[in-house]
Symmetry: C2
Subunit: 109 residues, 2 copies
């Protein structure tokens, strides 16, 4: 597998990570990949155009939230839990938990 | 004081709050107002044009992160800690802590 470019851990900034997470589709993608590490980028099953999806994954990768690699005709994706955990301890877990709370049917909308 | 419009607590979304926090200037503004509740919007002492600053405060207010009120010729601002604490428990404290860590001189950049 050929890894795609990603920022070095010390280049990550809180603002760019929060910006990358600050979109409902991207929150859903992050939630998907947290339960399916190494999933295909196309496998999230969201009803968004392919180009939009590609753009969302790129924003997440360039902010340092996910790692991506080309595997034949497919792109695979992982959360950079190690790096995020070191740079911003607890943030990713909290965002995943809040995303889950927000999407449960019992949540007040 | 005349309050400016703000979203009702149940209208806040995690994505829009994260988006609002996902900018270095806005993180700094949030950090300022956390230590000086009721401060004047113009009082953050940042080197950004006034129109840019106004826009950043508006994004924070419309996302539900801050509350603003007109006080004579000045606009005052507060964090909506109550609402944020109920909707997204722990998030604001974590972001403030991580912002502080990131801006300490010992942080690796």
């Amino acid at each position: 597998m050929r890894p795609l470019p990603e920022p070095a851990s010390e280049k990550l900034t809180l603002a760019s990570v929060l910006y990358a997470l600050g979109d409902p589709v991207r929150l859903e993608l992050v939630s998907c990949v947290s339960t399916s590490p190494g999933m295909a980028c196309s496998g999230a099953g969201l009803e968004v155009p392919k180009s939009t999806l590609t753009n969302h994954w790129r924003i997440l990768r360039e902010a340092g939230v996910v790692r991506m690699a080309v595997d034949g005709r497919c792109r695979r994706v992982w959360l950079r839990t190690d790096v995020l955990g070191t740079q911003f301890p607890g943030l990713l877990d909290m965002v995943l938990r809040l995303t889950e709370n927000e999407s449960t049917p019992t949540a007040v909308h």
